[in-house]
């Protein structure tokens, strides 16, 4: 069976134009050579920091951005080759829910009109039939009929997001793009929206393209995940595989940066230095090399190919597949940290004269953070490195 959506070598560049002649002076490499597939009924998550191209990919699928190169094949049809009218019909099958629930609903429309709008535009439903359908949708997302005549400002963020979901469901799409659907919401509301989304998917069988930066959310909802960095896929594959045993240093860095809610597990905060570089002039070779703790000579020279490894994983990294990464999180006061301490001392680096001395304040911050000194040193000039020298 061919996949529901197949993206082949998608490239989206934006030209920066300046001056009276609107001459193109620079090019933003928003998305470069991205290939993805979504099967019917599955959830694919796109993960990455701001500027990684997540939203650009989604917008290209929805026809809101024009691809510079590459093909987007939806249900076996190349979207770029379709005529305007055919394209419009095809787009019934792909709907979207945006991040900010307030700005994605018109403040002037009542809930009924918001949900009825796609039905009016794309179907011949009217009168009682239209009403019934709107009520049915409202019920599906867990809102009562008393909300029908209210306007978006009367609702909480979670309720607005439910209305946006109802609108996306109206045309019975095969694919729903969820662009950070819960990042504007509180955790207790987020949990409910995620439960709702999963339940609807089970009942109605559509696929999700789930865009998120919160890896915990991704782990909860996605079947497969693709990690993006500066417009390119660095690692993708089944969620369990990629997030439980990441093989790309960037995926590991992302996971390590997420603060664990379990205070007994120590996240390696701040192991990754610097910020995402500009997409106007992306770094040579592997785009992650300036921030990579494991950078090698080859990395700035040659771009690693996205190659298939085991278990359906795709990986773009020059490191060997079986490279032994240090652990991402570990229990507080783990021996791993203790065994690394002596190395640190004998190597004569690190400014603290008496490492046995308890830290000046509070609980042992050294164990919590500098337990990973060995790794921190791999990142010259990083904050860990600096603070050691300062003390």
């Amino acid at each position: 069976m061919s996949p529901l959506l197949s993206i082949e070598d998608l490239t989206v560049h934006f030209k920066i134009r300046r001056g009276l002649s609107r001459k193109s002076v620079d090019v933003v490499h928003a998305v470069d050579d991205v290939s993805l597939q979504i099967e019917a009924g599955e959830t694919l998550a796109l993960v990455g920091e701001s500027g990684s191209g997540k939203t650009t990919i989604a917008r290209a699928i929805l026809g809101l951005n024009k691809p510079t190169a590459g093909r987007i094949v939806f249900e076996g049809r190349d979207l770029a080759a379709l005529k305007r009218r055919e394209r419009r019909a095809a787009m019934r099958e792909a709907q979207v829910v945006f991040q900010d629930p307030y700005s994605s609903l018109s403040p002037r429309l009542t809930v009924r009109d918001v949900i009825a709008e796609p039905l009016r535009a794309q179907t011949k439903l009217s009168g009682a039939e239209l009403n019934d359908r709107v009520l049915e949708l409202l019920e599906m997302v867990g809102l009562g009929t008393q909300h029908l005549w209210r306007r978006p400002h009367e609702f909480s963020g979670g309720q607005c997001q439910r209305i946006a979901v109802a609108r996306a469901l109206a045309l019975e799409p095969k694919l729903i793009v969820l662009d950070e659907p819960t990042s504007a919401l509180d955790v207790s509301v987020q949990a409910r929206i995620l439960v709702l989304l999963k339940e609807l998917q089970r009942k109605l069988g559509f696929a999700y393209l789930f865009i998120a930066h919160d890896l915990a959310v991704v782990e909860a909802v996605a079947d497969t995940v693709a990690v993006l960095y500066l417009g390119q896929i660095v690692e993708s594959g089944p969620t369990e595989l990629v997030l439980r045993d990441p093989r790309h240093p960037y995926t590991r860095a992302l996971l390590a940066s997420v603060p664990s809610p379990d205070p007994e597990l120590r996240s390696e905060l701040g192991i990754i230095k610097g910020e995402v570089p500009s997409a106007v002039r992306p770094p040579s070779g592997c785009r992650f090399h300036p921030r990579c703790p494991f950078v090698m000579d080859i990395c700035p020279k040659e771009q690693p190919e996205l190659r298939e490894t085991s278990g359906g994983r795709r990986l773009a990294c020059h490191l060997a597949d079986d490279f032994a990464f240090p652990p991402i999180v570990r229990p507080e006061g783990d021996e791993g940290a203790a065994s690394r301490e002596p190395q640190q001392r004998s190597s004569g680096e690190g400014g603290r004269p008496e490492a046995d001395e308890p830290p000046p304040y509070g609980r042992s911050m050294k164990e919590a953070l500098f337990g990973s000194r060995r790794k921190a040193r791999l990142v010259p000039g990083s904050m860990a490195d600096r603070s050691e020298r300062d003390t």
Partner: protein, 326 residues
Amino acid sequence: MADLLEIRDLRLQFNSLRGTVKALDGVNLTVREHEIIGLVGESGCGKTITGLSVLGLLPRPQAEYTGGEILFRGDDFLVKSEAEMEEIRGGLVSMVFQDPLASLNPVFRVGEQIARVVRLHRGLGKKEAREAAVAALERVGLPGSETILGSYPHQLSGGMRQRACMAMALSCDSPLLIADEPTTALDVTIQAQILRLLLDLRERLGIAQILITHNVGVAAQACDRVAVMYAGSVVEQGRTAEVLKASRHPYTTALYECLPQDKKAEELTTIPGSVPDLIDPPSGCRFHPRCAHAMEVCKDVKPEPTPLSDEHWAACHWVAQQEGVA
């Protein structure tokens, strides 16, 4: 360690046209010297208002304190005059906010903005103030500061802006920093760097911090102690591990259960109902309509803190009953 700041039974209401918003309903919070305490809760629970109250930044007469005190080393901030508060803000307590772009002035260079704080508070001359600004920037991990001093806020990245804000807040060596969602607007890798910085500031300079956050993970990783707020009061407070791993208040437990960590979407639990409207808050314990353990007494009487260990307490009738206190 000694108490740096103690908020006792702080009550605050806003007088609005729609009615009186009972925003804070008896907030109890203790901040020790050199510690990071997390103030955790969902939107609208009063975290930020508590922080702003410490600095006396809420507009009066709209904001009306109906009780309680804010003791900084034994000195009540609520009875200070505006002129005295001017000295306190930046001098004793400073604050960084969620959106660094909105808290920096877009038309002045970053260096000028930091230097101005130092000149106002410490009465330094132009040249010395500039040096102080460089030192402050270096302290927050922005070296090569000459270029940053001369930049406008829009020329910096989000992480650098937040560091610049923190440099400004720390430029007068205040012993207490209130960080209001300092990482919420940032990407995770930058968030991790800023959290590292907060821990680092505490370790190197001994700056006590109130870290206001809705992110339980941030609190778990950065704080010594955690206070959980719901609808205007602190419901549970204690060491981070006690509050998060051995929580007793039903709200803390429910909040922790909502986190998607290591769960499939089908396993996520939710809290029934929604956050109450504080114009007409529930009587008694404000959490009782959503609480799985609600009893008759919860509807009528606001629960007092029940001590659970030397640091840990929870304000809940159900917990009190279990402990055999009630």
